[in-house]
Symmetry: C2
Subunit: 161 residues, 2 copies
Amino acid sequence: MLIRAAVGEGDRETVWSIIGPVIAEGEAYALPRDWSREEALAYWFAPQHEVFLAEAEGAALGACYLRPNKPGGGAHVANAGFATAIGARGRGVARAMGEHILAQARARGFRAMQFNCVISSNAPAVHLWTSLGFDTLCRVPEAFAHPTLGYVDALVMYRRL
Amino acid sequence: MLIRAAVGEGDRETVWSIIGPVIAEGEAYALPRDWSREEALAYWFAPQHEVFLAEAEGAALGACYLRPNKPGGGAHVANAGFATAIGARGRGVARAMGEHILAQARARGFRAMQFNCVISSNAPAVHLWTSLGFDTLCRVPEAFAHPTLGYVDALVMYRRL
């Protein structure tokens, strides 16, 4: 698997092909399920984001971004977002992207990484981040309206770098 | 004290006169201390924000906003921001604005309110939100670079509505 920076219009189309179905599914991100391509790409490629694509044998498997969690006095803590192409689940794509993003964050001098809203019902994500050294700092009660499960907790997860 | 919706260009100027010095002080918000008027107002008056001004005897004492903490599946949880004019500290302005925002959030049907980054060294804020029924869900270690104290923790605070 190769993970590389996303560049150019073609990569934006690839990112949309990955994140569009994940956003529409509405189970992993607190983002509007009906977001258009333009809205989703404006979010994923926001000015402070570095965007990466995971590929194998020419096929795009996942997309992720790295950014400061907050500006100003919070800019030494990193945040990141990840989406695995729905057809590529179960192949370790998110783990490879997570390891890549942690290394990139360390290289850029971030002191820690924080996830603000890991959906508690997203067991693969909670398991992955825990196995990559993240602690669950707290559960926010019923912070996420899951499309089939109803209100579920969201986790604040954190690790030093 | 009157708390009312901010409207028009004159109110934008008033908001800037309140939030500009608070942002530049850099002790209460993870926002760039060198933000321009335009950058600060674009943040405070973001499309999903409802902005209010606190006044007494014609003088503006504070500004606050109410918004969803997250879009999509997180939009039932409110978030808010508050700034008291530096010259009006110690007069209960933040408490009055907090009570107003809680009432507004209830009226709009939000189920809870969450603060993501209350600076632990901002003792008046921590005391105020605790006294208004917020629980501290967790401390994020050294999440904020304070201009004089160095790295201090940030608190995730939460209450049901």
